[in-house]
């Protein structure tokens, strides 16, 4: 276990050390003390390291994560786990805007609330939010899953492609081309798997509603001009 105290050591040393763990190494555990809202903590991880961050972080924490397990024992600023490829990122507190944006894969778990634009342009990432999410979440989401145990803000899933959205609470409004869809057995099965992977034990798949794309805005059609 390597300990980095960010009040004593530069951030670049931490990120460089995370990038230099040899393949097949046994000691892949890192602890980060005093993050104090630093930006770009634990970005660009490309191997299965485990990073425990003891406090709140600023912009772009765990960005581009590919295979690491990053846990933030606090809240995260804008763009947490942006463009994640694989691995797991867990936020014990809240996340600011565009959490998990453009993510291609992996699992992002937010135990508190997420702000606006959660999962914007998601491309395969799975996101589980235990609290509420803000407006314009999953905007132009292409694939992956967004699971929300609380409520969703305005314009959920606006201009959605094939990302699947599950919300247990209320949805303030749906965005253009986003509609409620039936929960079929395969959706309940997938949702149960996601909840289990996120460590959620107090929610059942039957309590959720599913939202997805009406597929009317994929290609321009003059009849739909008003919807853009």
């Amino acid at each position: 276990m390597t300990v980095f105290d960010l009040s004593q050591m530069p951030l670049r040393d931490l990120n460089a050390a995370l990038h230099q763990v040899p393949e097949g190494a046994n000691d892949t555990g890192f602890t980060v003390d005093n993050p104090r809202g630093h930006h770009a903590v634990a970005v660009g991880i490309d191997r299965p390291v485990s990073v425990e961050i003891k406090g709140s972080v600023g912009y772009y924490c765990a960005g581009m994560n590919d295979g690491g397990l990053v846990t933030v024992h606090g809240s995260a600023g804008p763009g947490v786990a942006e463009n994640m490829m694989s691995g797991t990122v867990v936020i014990e507190g809240d996340a600011s805007q565009y959490a998990g944006a453009t993510g291609h894969g992996g699992l992002l778990v937010i135990k508190g609330n997420a702000a606006s634009r959660c999962g914007i342009s998601m491309k395969g990432i799975d996101i589980v939010v235990c609290g509420n999410i803000g407006h314009m979440s999953a905007f132009m989401g292409q694939s992956g899953h967004l699971v929300v145990l609380g409520d969703a803000g305005d314009a959920l899933g606006d201009s959605l492609y094939e990302a699947k959205l599950f919300v247990r609470g209320t949805v303030k409004s749906l965005g253009a081309d986003c509609i409620e869809k039936d929960m079929r057995p395969e959706h309940r099965e997938k949702l149960a798997e996601l909840l289990e992977r996120a460590g959620v034990t107090d929610a059942k798949p039957e309590e959720f509603r599913r939202y997805g794309s009406a597929r009317k805005l994929y290609n321009f059609n003059i009849d739909n001009a008003d919807a853009y």
Binding site: R36, G37, H38, S56, V57, G58, Y59, S75, G77, P78, G93, D94, S96, Q97, A115, S116, G134, H135
Partner: protein
């Protein structure tokens, strides 16, 4: 980009440290905007007295003999010079005359703000240099707001720096950019409002002043700002006894708030709050879009 901060103290024992805490918060935000910086501090009111903070491009010439000149104009004025700024203290009933007397005596002097309690200091340069220049860390007070600027809409000048005064004991800092400020400026100018700059935030400040002059309270003025101002904004607004926060409905300009038994704090980022006493135990949250938040000493008790 810009960085904005605000601190509202509930615990009076923190008041001697207000300037130091707020300066530290602002300096932490330096890399959000290094062009200019400013701070407004609400200190203790003196019975029957009001303060006018002024600025001069040539302080040596403008401030020398100013006190005597004001007294010769039958103003019972005390002048405290701080670098390019000076705080003029006069009896409350004379405060309106200060402006006209200064206009004839020292036409280059600009008024930064006035009121019973507020003092506003702003200049081009880095926050650490600006707060040192005006000795802000030594100031005590009940609450204050600050701004560090990355200029987008107008020139990097002292007058383009924030906070902007929005009336007696009121001022505003802004992170964002307004898109309908030219039109609003024309409308307000037609109604008699005078503008010093081409800055969009000055228009926001003038708008709020005009709304409140029309009878709205600060909360109502901020609520109508949500309808009438087009563009991106996170505003932090200071008043004589409180401070308010509002974000536009898109809310892409960042904002974090923290509250403990001792204070309410605002920062563009959590980093700005990380040195505050007891922050580990604070309730920390992101203010909701299109929602007016307000704290007031007079209503809090």
């Amino acid at each position: 980009m810009c960085g904005i901060v605000g601190l509202f103290l509930k615990d009076r024992s923190l008041e001697p440290r207000l300037g130091a805490l707020l300066s530290d918060m602002l300096i932490t935000m330096t890399d959000r905007g290094p062009d200019s910086a400013g701070i407004a501090v609400y200190g203790a009111a003196k019975a029957g007295k009001a303060k006018v903070t002024v600025q001069s491009p040539d302080p040596d010439a403008d401030f020398s003999g100013l006190e005597a000149a004001l007294k010769a104009a039958e103003l019972e004025a005390g002048v405290a010079v701080k670098s390019t700024h000076a705080v003029i203290e006069v009896p409350v009933e004379q405060v309106d005359r200060v402006r006209s007397v200064l206009a004839s005596l020292r036409p280059d002097i600009r008024i930064m703000g006035s009121g019973d309690r507020v003092e506003i200091f702003k200049e081009t340069g880095l926050p650490k240099d600006v707060v040192a220049r005006f000795d802000v860390p030594a100031m005590s007070g009940t609450h204050g707001i600050g701004h560090t600027r990355m200029a987008t809409e107008s020139a990097v000048t002292t007058l383009g720096a924030h906070p902007f005064s929005t009336g007696a004991d009121q001022c505003l800092v802004h992170n964002g950019s307004l898109s309908n400020h030219n039109n609003l400026r024309r409308e307000l100018a037609r109604a008699g409002v005078q503008f010093e700059t081409q800055n969009d935030s000055e228009v926001a400040a003038a708008y709020i002043t005009a709304e409140m002059a029309g009878g709205k309270n600060l909360g109502q003025a901020l609520t109508s700002a949500l309808d009438d101002l087009d563009g991106f904004f996170t505003f932090v607004v200071g008043t004589k006894s409180g401070f308010g926060v509002v974000r536009d409905p898109i809310a892409c300009k960042p904002a974090v708030m923290a509250e403990t038994d001792r204070y309410v704090a605002f920062g563009s980022e959590y980093r700005a709050l990380a040195n505050l006493p007891g922050i580990e135990m604070a309730r920390v949250w992101e203010p909701e879009p299109a929602t007016v938040y307000f704290w007031d000493h007079e209503n809090a008790a």
